[in-house]
């Protein structure tokens, strides 16, 4: 390679993109920030070309259909995480405890969504609607009918499942893209209805004075008590998810994800399995919603916006689609990290979206990979 071609290569690979990004950023960002944008792209290209392109990227996701049990390290990690979750709240102040409680909520949601995105490969962009339906079910039941927390818990989940049918029945027969956009539409419809049906939901003001759960002998109204309550639910949820995964249905789901037509050929009723998973996923969302409402003691439509759905989706993707431990790690990271980066609050979503894009580019199966 002589000097001239190498100069041309460098120009084309680095200088041109830098100059282009700089030029188109100026009208929107102004001069100074545009320089930063250009430099950022330059650095990104440098990293890409030096570290990533050099290695031949032959990544084939090998997914095993058999469940091989946990390795020693895997078991150790689970025990360690559980111990940390039990001990940590005792040493946390009120604010940190709140952050960790919201880690638990997002974990529940991400695990529920993972059933759909990870196990079946179907995109749901309105998942937060089920969370909202669960939360509002409890709020309305307790305000209008005086039904308590424990009674509402199942009802919240069931309500979410029933509503999920509205969207599942028409769209699950279609290609995945349509499902994504239809779920998005559904999420928006739910939020708009919550916002406008004043007589039932009290509109944008939301519903207040939702009671906390109570149990004989055990104090649940404090932060710590509530934390442990949600933790119990997560343990139950993880146990159920593992059982589902190891069951016939779990294997059907993986078969559908890997090759839907082949799955149909061997006699799996793919539509039925998909609908079942959709309802189950909504059920978990609804239950999480009931818990959320009782933690906040207040619900309003603002908690259930589109961007929340994207957040939950990002947790599933970041940790590793289909991998329960990975999804939990993803939820933890995406809740705690923004708290640690509070100074960069303006750039938070920018970093978040770049993370999504680069993730899809380099490791679409998530940090912990796809395991079955």
């Amino acid at each position: 390679m002589n000097l001239r071609t190498s100069i041309r290569t460098i120009l084309k690979a680095y200088v041109l993109p830098l100059a282009w990004i700089f030029a188109i950023s100026i009208p929107i960002m102004g001069l100074v920030r545009s320089i930063f944008a250009g430099v950022f792209v330059f650095a990104g290209l440098l990293v890409f070309n030096i570290f990533i392109r050099r290695k031949a990227r032959v990544q084939k996701s090998r997914s095993r259909l058999t469940y091989t049990g946990l390795s020693f390290a895997g078991r150790f990690a689970w025990v360690f995480a559980l111990a940390a979750a039990i001990i940590a709240p005792l040493f946390l102040n009120g604010y940190s405890l709140d952050v960790f409680t919201s880690v638990l909520f997002y974990t529940m949601l991400a695990l529920g969504l993972n059933l759909l995105v990870g196990d079946l490969g179907l995109l749901n962009l309105g998942y937060i609607a089920f969370y909202g339906i669960g939360a509002y079910t409890y709020a309305i039941l307790s305000a209008k009918f005086g039904i308590g927390f424990w009674g509402s818990l199942m009802l919240g989940g069931i309500a979410a499942s029933v509503f999920s049918l509205i969207i599942a029945v028409p769209t699950l027969r279609l290609k995945g893209d349509y499902l994504a956009i239809a779920t998005l539409g559904f999420g928006e419809i739910v939020r708009i209805v919550l916002n406008n049906w004043d007589s039932l939901t009290n509109g944008p003001n939301g519903i207040m004075n939702i009671p906390r759960p109570s149990l004989p002998w055990i104090q649940l109204s404090t932060g710590i008590g509530f934390f442990y309550l949600v933790l119990c639910f997560i343990i139950l949820q993880v146990y159920l998810l593992y059982r589902i995964k190891r069951s016939r249905f779990g294997r059907y789901a993986v078969a559908i994800r890997e090759n839907e037509r082949a799955a149909e050929m061997v006699g799996i009723n793919t539509y039925k399995i998909k609908t079942l998973y959709f309802m189950l996923s909504a059920f978990f969302g609804g239950v999480a919603g009931v818990l959320f409402a009782s933690k906040q003691m207040f619900v309003s439509p603002d908690s259930f916006t589109f961007i929340e759905s994207v957040y939950v989706l990002a947790m599933v993707i970041l940790g590793g689609m289909g991998n329960i431990a990975g999804v939990m790690a993803g939820a933890f990271t995406l809740v705690v990290l923004p708290e640690l980066l509070r100074e960069f609050v303006l750039y938070r979503m920018l970093i978040f979206s770049l993370l999504l894009i680069t993730m899809m580019l380099f490791k679409p199966e998530g940090l912990l990979g796809k395991r079955t």
Binding site: I21, P27, M29, Y178, I307, L356, M360
Partner: protein, 297 residues
């Protein structure tokens, strides 16, 4: 009756805007089968592009209609640049990966552009300069129609006709059609698919940019978050007309605008934004290939 006709005029105005944006969705979907979530943001960037041109010109020429076209040109160019860039940097590297990855990348691109503009231009609303010419109102039997509305409708009509001619009568247009039918064969007969994809993004983005400027003049306000809802509605319009079909997108856009404005007038204005989504779900339920689409789903 008067209200009815008034609503039809308003509906056709917003419908023209939806149609312009829906064209971009439908063209991109036709060629790389991607729901380009960032398209709504491209429209928003177009609105800002027009605003920037207006700010540069200043307030001294508010009676000159030429300003409108200058702003439209500015918005169009900026949108084209961003559409092109998004395709090159975000979509092209992963064009061959799974559909899920593509969709999520598009989602990421959309959030990125929104926040990019928010950081650069601030989170608060920005005002378009109100042009006296555009506010001229014609009244006929009590039905009011502004020059602004006529302009939107006329511009949309001219653009749609020329796009239709371009796609159906020129070599490049044929190449686009060929690529959307079968990219591999298109490549075999000597079409540069990468160029065609870029071109598709550039044209679609340009249309969205023009729509952004037109809406900027119509409502007088732009904000970094306007792209999301309009984007979804335009996508609904594209599905309504049959995604991948250009004429379908045009009709779908106008139809959606009409349904929305009549629904807001006669059913409930609170639920105005929900109509599009209900129509979307209904059309997926009844005829997923859209009004004019071929069976594909």
């Amino acid at each position: 009756m008067r209200i009815f006709i008034q609503q039809i005029i308003n509906g056709l105005t917003t419908g023209s805007v939806y149609a312009l944006i829906a064209l971009g969705y439908t063209m991109v979907y036709g060629i790389i089968e991607l729901i380009n979530f960032a398209h709504g943001e491209i429209y928003m960037i177009g609105a800002y592009g027009g605003l920037i041109v207006l700010t540069l010109i200043g307030t001294s020429h508010t009676s000159n209609i030429g300003i409108v076209f200058l702003a439209m040109g500015g918005g169009m160019l900026l949108s084209m640049a961003y559409g092109f860039t998004v395709e090159k940097f975000a979509y092209k590297p992963i064009r061959n990966s799974s559909r899920l990855s593509l969709l999520i990348t598009a989602l990421g691109a959309s959030i990125f552009l929104q926040n990019f503009v928010m950081i650069g231009q601030g989170a608060s609303d920005k005002n378009y300069i109100s042009l006296n010419v555009l506010n001229a109102t014609f009244t006929l039997y009590g039905i009011a129609i502004t020059l602004n509305q006529i302009l939107i409708f006329a511009v949309a009509l001219v653009i749609m006709l020329s796009l239709d001619l371009f796609v159906n009568k020129t070599m490049t247009g044929w190449a686009m059609k060929a690529t959307s039918q079968d990219p591999i064969t298109a490549q075999l007969v000597g079409i540069n698919v990468d160029t065609i994809v870029s071109l598709t993004f550039i044209i679609g983005s340009g249309l969205a940019g023009i729509a952004g400027v037109l809406v900027g003049f119509y409502y007088g306000i732009v904000n970094f978050s306007i792209g999301y809802l309009v984007g979804i509605k335009a996508f609904t319009a594209a599905v309504l007309g049959g995604i991948g079909d250009l004429r379908g997108a045009m009709v779908g856009g106008l139809l959606l605008g009409l349904l929305e404005s009549l629904g807001a007038a006669y059913l409930s204005s609170d639920y105005k934004d929900a109509f599009a989504f209900i129509i979307l779900i209904a059309i997926l339920l009844i005829k997923p290939s859209g009004l004019f689409g071929k069976r594909q789903a």
